[in-house]
């Protein structure tokens, strides 16, 4: 095993509901991601994927257990951790350029470096020519590129992505997914990518973690042995189908359990 990227030990998150019950969002998570690896988490809705990601990001304290990033424990938000949200997080009052530089600006990166990295990142995500435009003029996909560029410009060693393409249409999703993979192969961050889309998970990652419905545990870890250089044509291969079937087999029951639980709760 190579260098440690993200190490999650005995993690559990519980919270009290207003009704007085204790809900266990995630429990018994004991997993590791090697540095520079791309791992996806899939699971039914309400399984605590986002909670897990928030804890790894240092935005939420776990009830028990710990998270280490490159050997150092996470105690709060941290500049080694870059977060990409599902919702549009671009700031409409700033231009694309200012948005990309915003993280660096907050973290007081020297001005000269800010300019250089902003230029590079805008180039990397393919937003050249849109530097002076305000996000409301851009499409959802382009705004998500801005958010990605902002995160990458902070040069985090770990990239946490919470369903970053979920709000986009199918074609934009596929394109942006391919872009993200290309960028990742260049920058080699450790990536933890949350999605509910099985084929997206397989297409993007080297390993897929399958989470159960509440309490969220990781019930299956599937290595994706597809060539590193892959495009969307891989979905029609036998291997891809095998992987999809296996993940769906573990997920199906949980998805059903979640569905029933949510239906009876409401």
């Amino acid at each position: 095993m190579g260098q440690p990227g993200i190490k999650i030990s005995d993690l559990a998150v519980r919270f009290d509901t207003p009704a007085g019950d204790t809900v266990t969002a995630v429990e018994g998570i004991n997993h590791e991601i090697e540095a520079h690896k791309f791992v996806s988490i899939v699971g039914p809705s309400g399984c605590g994927k986002s909670t897990l990601l928030n804890v790894v990001a240092g935005l939420q304290r776990p009830t028990s257990g710990s998270v280490e990033i490159e050997g150092a424990p996470v105690t709060g938000p941290n500049r080694r951790i870059g977060l990409v949200f599902q919702e549009d997080s671009t700031l409409p009052w700033k231009t694309v350029e200012e948005n990309v530089a915003f993280g660096m600006h907050i973290q007081s990166v020297p001005k000269e470096q800010q300019r250089r990295r902003t230029r590079e990142m805008i180039d990397l995500v393919g937003l050249n020519g849109f530097q002076k435009v305000h996000p409301p003029m851009l499409s959802g996909g382009m705004r998500q590129r801005v958010a990605l560029a902002r995160t990458l410009a902070q040069q985090p060693s770990v990239l946490l992505m919470d369903e970053p393409f979920a709000a986009l249409d199918q074609q934009t999703r596929l394109l942006l997914g391919a872009e993200l993979r290309r960028i990742w192969r260049q920058t080699k961050q450790t990536v933890l990518f949350v999605t509910h889309d099985l084929s997206e998970a397989i297409l993007m990652s080297q390993q897929v973690w399958v989470m159960s419905y509440r309490p969220g545990r990781i019930i299956d870890v599937v290595d994706v042995d597809l060539p590193d250089e892959r495009d969307t044509s891989v979905v029609s291969t036998h291997e891809f189908n095998e992987l999809q079937n296996r993940i769906w087999a573990s997920l199906q029951q949980e998805a059903m359990r979640g569905f029933v639980a949510e239906a009876t709760a409401s």
Binding site: L59, P77, R79, F85, S89, L91, W93, I106, H134, P136
Partner: protein, 287 residues
């Protein structure tokens, strides 16, 4: 030119305890402005003004109303031109202008701080909101006897009351703007490790800017109304005082010249605010 919609905030953007109807929603512009719209609106404004002046002039000449009630436009205009050369006119205008500017600045700052406080401490907001909202409906000028007792017949009675009137819409709008901020902005601020100051100045307040600017517009209107109305009742100088004085001594043409001056002042104020608004919301309305 452009209109501010005065209406209840849409369902998704209700204030925290759902009550107040006196909130101005930020401007939304559907579609991009067609080039030349500026020209059309300028031309139509001028046209309407011309029409109003014409009706005014003709009506007085044709005796649709008594000339003692509303003298012809030309008479009022020459009276205004005469006034522009007198020191008294500029003293009154200066005083009223000073009162409006002071109360607008103080009211805006006070309202902004109050709005931030209500957001940071929702309990305080919950307790005070009903009073603030009902304050809107109270003609605060009614408190002028109290003000005279406190400050005497000085500009301060005018400034204090106009400040309070300006602060209320500003506080409510700032509060609603902050409370309806998209949660992802605050999450972003946290994940980037923003300090509280950075979160407030670089994320929260700019995010609430459309509401705050709408609040500023209301505040300007209320400061103007407050100042003039207070001058009517308590002051010994100022445009409002002068108008009442001239009314009581039957100097109608001069009185209307002063009324025109007040209209001019409010037009100037609106223009300045529109410029400020354009600057503050730069890039936002390009949607």
């Amino acid at each position: 030119m452009t209109k501010t919609t005065v209406q209840a905030a849409p369902g998704a953007q209700r204030p925290p305890n759902g009550g107040s109807r006196r909130i101005v929603t930020p401007r939304t512009r559907i579609g991009r402005r067609v080039p030349g719209t500026g020209l059309i609106s300028t031309a139509s404004t001028l046209g309407l003004l011309l029409l109003a002046g014409l009706v005014w002039q003709l009506g007085s000449i044709a005796q649709w109303w008594s000339v003692a009630t509303l003298p012809p436009f030309t008479q009022v205009r020459s009276e205004l031109l005469r006034l522009l050369g007198t020191g008294e006119f500029w003293d009154d205008t200066g005083r009223t202008g000073m009162e409006i500017v002071l109360s607008l600045v103080a009211g805006t700052l006070l309202g902004l701080l109050a709005g931030i406080l209500f957001w940071k401490m929702p309990i305080v907001g919950r307790i005070l909101e009903p009073y603030l909202v009902s304050f809107y409906a109270v003609p605060l000028v009614l408190f002028y006897p109290v003000m005279i007792v406190i400050t005497g017949i000085t500009p301060w009675s005018v400034i204090i009351l106009a400040t309070v009137m300006a602060a209320i819409p500003m506080a409510l709008n700032t509060w609603v703007g902050l409370a309806t901020l998209r949660p992802v902005y605050l999450k972003l601020a946290r994940s980037l490790g923003c300090t509280r100051r950075q979160t407030m100045l670089q994320v929260a307040l700019p995010g609430a800017a459309p509401y705050i600017v709408a609040g500023l517009r209301l505040a300007a209107g209320y400061a103007l109304i407050g100042a003039i109305a207070m001058e009517f009742t308590t002051a010994s100088a100022g445009l409002g005082f002068r108008i009442r004085y001239l009314y009581e001594s039957f100097e109608t043409p001069t009185m209307f010249a002063y009324v025109l001056a007040v209209l001019g002042l409010s037009f100037l104020l609106t223009l300045l605010l529109a410029l400020a608004e354009k600057r503050m919301l730069k890039g936002r309305n390009e949607r």
